[in-house]
């Protein structure tokens, strides 16, 4: 048996070993990479972001999947919830799947741990599990009145009495639904809610389902789409670059304005900012421990904590005209003296992204290696096939 025949008859277990290594190694050793954002993701991000701080706007997230598709869909859900929490956007959740109910809880808890001021019934509301048999009455009913169509939330509270429902009556206010599924389930919203109420629809789907959604995207029936882990990674990046971005002098909590709306912290989407070199330090997925300021930025930052100036001055180091503070050098006593808010604010300035908010990007590194490896396999297989074919032709 010559080498080409061997290549053709390679035992599949060797392929499995190479695939396993190609996936495990990049997951175990993260490296920085940049996921170029695609228009369907950017459109969805911008649509949600336009609701920032508004009391009369809300997003509905529909978790129509079970645990099997979580590796692809869960990072998207976490990224969108984080976006909403960062920018004070009201968010509702529901599921038509019994297995979806714990996924909603898990997603909320995953994000909420980092946002202690976010409250259930005020900033978000979980409608919980609604049997699929009631999907149609619920979808159509919410077009008239949300609190009538869904009477209680997952915690058994009357929806009409919740703070979050003030200013949100039907799809005129809750005018975007994002359906997460490993199928074309988003179609239900498209067929019933969009023609009748003009509801805006977006989907988060597994990569294998993405191609099926393009007809709806092109026709404008869907305003955006997150396609597989790549979509999740792109959304994570946008949240880091815009929604979670803070100038050193920004307040830690958004003040409420006279009309009830809240000032949205972070910054609005801009294609120009995405092209800037400076965003690279905002999207590093390797561990970042140093907060770096220009002298002016440092003054703006410490002005927020006038009684902690001495501690910050004690921690700072001057390097190449920049002021740096290494957060790993802060002792427990100093951390206690700084207090939770100032310490958390300083840590935010390091632009270190905690693991749960960069899962998709770490996964994309693994996918990078796996894709390239599969392409190499395809090319090798074809080379072997054609050489073998040429030899056989010669022999005949």
């Amino acid at each position: 048996m010559n080498i080409f025949e061997r290549i053709q008859k390679l035992d599949r277990r060797w392929i499995y070993i190479v695939v396993a290594l190609a996936i495990i190694l990049p997951l175990a050793i993260p490296f920085n990479s940049d996921d170029v954002t695609s228009p369907p993701t950017e459109n969805l991000y911008q649509f949600i972001d336009a609701m920032a701080g508004r009391q009369d706007r809300a997003v509905l997230m529909s978790f129509y999947h079970d645990a099997s598709t979580m590796p692809e869909l869960f990072p998207m859900e976490v990224a969108i919830i984080r976006h909403c929490f960062e920018r004070n956007i009201k968010v509702f959740m529901l599921t038509w799947f019994p297995q979806g109910a714990p996924i909603i809880d898990y997603a909320i808890n995953t994000v909420k741990e980092e946002y202690p001021n976010i409250k259930s019934g005020v900033d978000y509301c979980n409608f919980g599990y609604i049997p699929a048999a009631l999907a149609l009455p619920t979808i159509l009913g919410m077009g008239d009145n949300i609190a009538t169509a869904v009477k209680t939330d997952a915690e058994g509270r009357k929806v009409e009495n919740l703070e979050i429902i003030k200013g949100v009556t039907n799809y005129s206010e809750m005018n975007l639904v994002v359906e997460f599924s490993g199928s074309s389930a988003g179609g239900t919203w498209l067929f019933y809610a969009r023609p009748k109420f003009g509801l805006n629809i977006a989907v988060g789907v597994t990569a294998v389902m993405a191609a099926d959604e393009y007809p709806y995207l092109q026709s404008g029936q869907m305003i955006g789409m997150l396609a597989g882990l790549k979509g999740a990674a792109e959304y994570e990046k946008l949240v880091d670059v815009f929604a979670a971005y803070r100038e050193p002098g920004d307040p830690t909590e958004a003040p409420r304005m006279e009309n009830g709306n809240r000032k949205a912290l972070g910054r609005s989407f801009s294609s120009d900012i995405l092209r800037e070199e400076s965003i690279k330090e905002l999207i590093n997925i390797t561990t970042q421990t140093t907060a770096s300021f220009s002298p002016t930025e440092y003054q703006e930052f410490i002005a927020k904590y006038p009684d902690k100036t001495a501690i910050f001055d004690n921690l700072k180091l001057e390097k190449d005209g920049k002021i740096e503070i290494d957060v790993t050098k802060i002792s427990d006593a100093e951390a206690e003296e700084l207090g939770h808010t100032a310490h958390a604010d300083l840590k935010r300035m390091t632009h270190n992204i905690i693991y749960k908010f960069k899962v998709a990007r770490i996964g994309m590194n693994a996918q990078s290696v796996a894709h390239i490896m599969i392409i190499v396999f395809i090319i090798l297989g074809n080379i072997g096939y054609f050489i073998q074919k040429a030899r056989q032709a010669k022999q005949q």
Partner: protein, 209 residues
């Protein structure tokens, strides 16, 4: 009679829902749908769930009694069903309880593992079967390689034009074929629905007609 009554139910139900979609009158939109249909649907949903549990339990009980092939696995169904139900009823379904612990540490990893096996089969299939045997297969192969490369950060480093080319493949050739398939499926669905509603297609009632 056994077939006539279900047939009448299907035809009448079909016509009512057809009218509901196309006639925006109060009688159809409010009186029928919200006052009549929605409360009935709400009342029926728990019975449907109960029916599912009963059917599944009966099927597994019968399997154990008959010692059918792989009957031992039926015990796992009962164990899983009873333990999960008790955990949910006793400890609640919120974080910190046994239910959520089981979901996070058992259901999630097991389901994800099953789904991730797809990657191994895809890699193996790509190597063994993805051959440029014809012009069509070569076009498919090239499109696949471009889209796969454009999906990942490493691919974009090879050429910054890859995402644009990939987006074109998805937006134009992919879209044209998808739309063609969807139109075909849509027309087929309409034809089948009409056949069912007019009583021409009766195979769903069982029997050989």
């Amino acid at each position: 009679m056994k077939k006539t009554i279900p047939l009448i139910i299907v035809i009448v139900g079909g016509i009512i829902f057809l009218l509901w979609v196309f006639v925006p009158h109060k009688i159809m939109a409010d009186d029928f749908y919200y006052e009549f249909f929605t409360p009935w649907a709400r009342a029926m949903a728990p019975f449907a769930a109960l029916l599912g549990v009963m059917s599944l339990s009966m099927m597994h009980t019968a399997k154990i009694k008959r010692r059918a092939p792989k009957w031992q696995y039926s015990y796992f169904f009962f164990a899983g069903f009873i333990i999960t139900t008790l955990a949910g009823f006793i400890g609640g379904t919120q974080k910190g309880g046994i239910f959520m612990w089981m979901f996070e540490n058992m259901a999630m990893p097991m389901s994800a593992t099953m789904f991730s096996l797809l990657a191994f089969y895809m890699a193996s299939a790509a190597y063994k079967a993805f051959r440029a045997r014809s012009v069509e297969a070569t076009v498919l192969l090239l499109a696949a390689i471009i889209v796969m490369l454009a999906q990942v950060p490493m691919g974009v480093k090879i050429s910054k034009h890859l995402p644009t080319i990939s987006q074109w493949i998805l937006d134009v050739p992919n879209l044209a074929s998808k739309r063609g398939i969807m139109l075909g499926v849509g027309l087929g669905s309409v034809a089948t629905t009409l056949k069912i509603m007019l009583g021409i297609e009766r195979s769903y009632l069982g029997g050989g007609e």
